[in-house]
Amino acid sequence: MWTDVYGIFQKYMGTGIVVILFLAAIVYLFLTEKRKERRILLIYLPVLTLLLYFNPLFAAFFCKVVDTEIYFRICWLLPVGVVLGYSAVQIAERFEGKKQACLIAGMLCLIAISGKLVYTNPLYSKAQNPYHVPDSVVHICDAIKCEGREVMAAFPREMVLYVRQYSPYVCMPYGRDAYETEFNHFEKLMDADVIDLETMWERIELFGVHYIILDEKKEILGDPQDFNLVEFDRMDGYVIYYNNNLSLTY
């Protein structure tokens, strides 16, 4: 468990430089800050929080009762920004004019170098619409929507995260949790380079799937018409098959 606690803290620290700066700022304030209430909330409180984090009894309690994976949230109680900002101002206050401006610029550069610009994360992209889901998801969900009822549709992996954020009327045989559950077999078949309709058919019937959305570049093993799957539409690089064995009318 100790390895978990330490490992989680390492993950929280990232490169670790910001946390080192934070600890250095606490030491600086410990040496220079005279006002009692500031010492309590900017020095003693963070130190106690850190002691609590590394307390094996507390860690054991938290990990057993709550969850080990989210133990890092205890670190949110550390006022990193406030302590860094306050110390920076206290240090800058000792200088005047250009020296002060250069010092502030230097400190900002130090923070920038120590951390990493959040927006450089490769998971960021320009939003395609106000829903912040891919346009293809919006177009396909709108196309297969059926007034007055829900439809069951199997989507490729890259769309699974977004479908139900946009439309509650489109149900799926597997969701984001497919990677961890028994439903992952269907998802794996959908994600394969070659779509094997015969193997997949059992799942399509089991879940009562009305629509199957496939990347149009993917090779399909077997003729969809043999399974009574008809091409419903093509859009944004995907082909939508409608399962003619199931009716969408009551």
Binding site: L48, W76, L77, R164, P168
Partner: protein
């Protein structure tokens, strides 16, 4: 759409200001409008938690929550109005006018804030947890069912009490239903554009308290804060990262709004301990903030109690005002109750 925006303006700006207005000028302190808004919102979130949990656990419809919460909002606003009239608190929204100095510094601070708001609205982030939280809001808005449908697939399930005890997505669904604006837009654009300035607003309050209104120091403090947030991507686990990446998720609200505001309230408490002023109204806000933390995340109960417990105990022992421990414990009762409920139901 315009009507929807007006409804949101009413619910997200006017209503919290109306409810929080009674805290303006309490205990002989002329509080800023940021403080008034946050106090009002904390009261409203605490009310939403109290009202929505029984409806969720009984498997009732969102419509019933909206009706009951509407009544609470009206009551809270009228009570606030009554308190203002009784105590002769001005109802005119007043903003503290600072001297026009250090203009460049403040322009940079404001420009960086606006940049973060614009990027929150225009950049999409592939965030796995949105598949849960945004989907909960979307389906609750449309179906009215609360935590009875698997958000990932749409299949019906038993009550998901674990998530149901932190119903911020239901609050978002309610706003979405009332305004007619899609829940995904609420989660990805409207709330981030609101919550990012609120998070910095709390930093403004803390900075203003620490530097006693010195605008130059406050500007530098906020600039450093903005850099810490902007360059907080060294780890996916930092609260700074959560503020920009998962802004409308409950855990981000907990990390970037609730916890910093509790810290501010601890500063205010320390100030009152030092001067011996009354802390009656302050404890009311502390209690509401603790409950708002429970609304945001099930772990909010534990984190809030740790922060208030440690902070309250330190203040009590350092100032030898042991009576502080009584309201500290009382404020922890509801979050502890929520934690117990979580353990029983979860």
């Amino acid at each position: 759409m315009i009507l929807g925006i007006l409804v949101l303006f009413g619910f997200l700006i006017v209503l919290p200001l109306a409810v929080g207005m009674c805290f303006r000028g309490t205990e002989n302190v002329n509080h800023s409008m940021i403080y008034v808004w946050i106090c009002g919102q904390m009261i409203l979130w605490a009310g939403f938690l109290t009202i929505s949990i029984p409806f969720i656990l009984k498997g009732r419809d969102l419509k019933e929550v909206i009706v009951a919460y509407g009544g609470f909002c009206a009551l809270a606003a009228l009570t606030s109005l009554g308190v203002c009239l009784k105590n002769k608190i001005s109802l005119r929204p007043g903003f503290q006018k600072g001297k026009q100095e250090h203009v460049l510094l403040w322009l940079i601070v404001i420009a960086l804030l606006v940049l973060q708001m614009v990027l929150a609205a225009t950049l999409a982030y592939e965030e796995g947890d949105d598949a849960f939280y945004v989907a909960v809001s979307t389906l609750t808005k449309e179906s009215g069912k609360m935590y009875q449908v698997l958000p990932y697939t749409g299949q019906t399930t038993g009550l998901d009490a674990r998530h149901g005890l932190a119903p911020l997505p239901i609050w978002i669904a309610m706003l979405s239903r009332l305004s007619g604006i899609h829940a995904a837009i609420m989660n990805q654009i409207i709330l981030p554009v609101l919550f990012i300035p609120v998070a910095y607003g709390i930093m403004y309050l803390i900075g203003n308290h620490l530097f006693e209104g010195d605008r130059k120091k406050l500007g530098i403090f906020l600039l450093v804060e903005e850099f810490v947030v902007l360059f907080g991507g060294q780890s996916l686990y930092t609260s700074e990262n959560f503020l920009l990446v998962r802004t409308a998720q409950g855990k981000a609200v907990l990390a970037c709004i609730i916890i910093p505001f509790l810290l501010y309230l601890l500063f205010a408490l320390a100030d009152r301990c030092k001067t011996g002023k009354s802390t009656r109204f302050l404890w009311l806000i502390v209690a509401a903030t603790m409950m708002a933390g429970c609304l945001c995340s099930t772990q909010g109960a534990l984190l809030d109690c740790i922060l208030l417990g440690l902070g309250g105990a330190l203040l009590a022992f350092q100032y030898r005002r042991y009576r502080l421990l009584v309201p500290t414990v009382i404020c922890c009762v509801i979050p502890t109750g929520m934690a117990v409920l979580y353990l029983i139901l979860g």
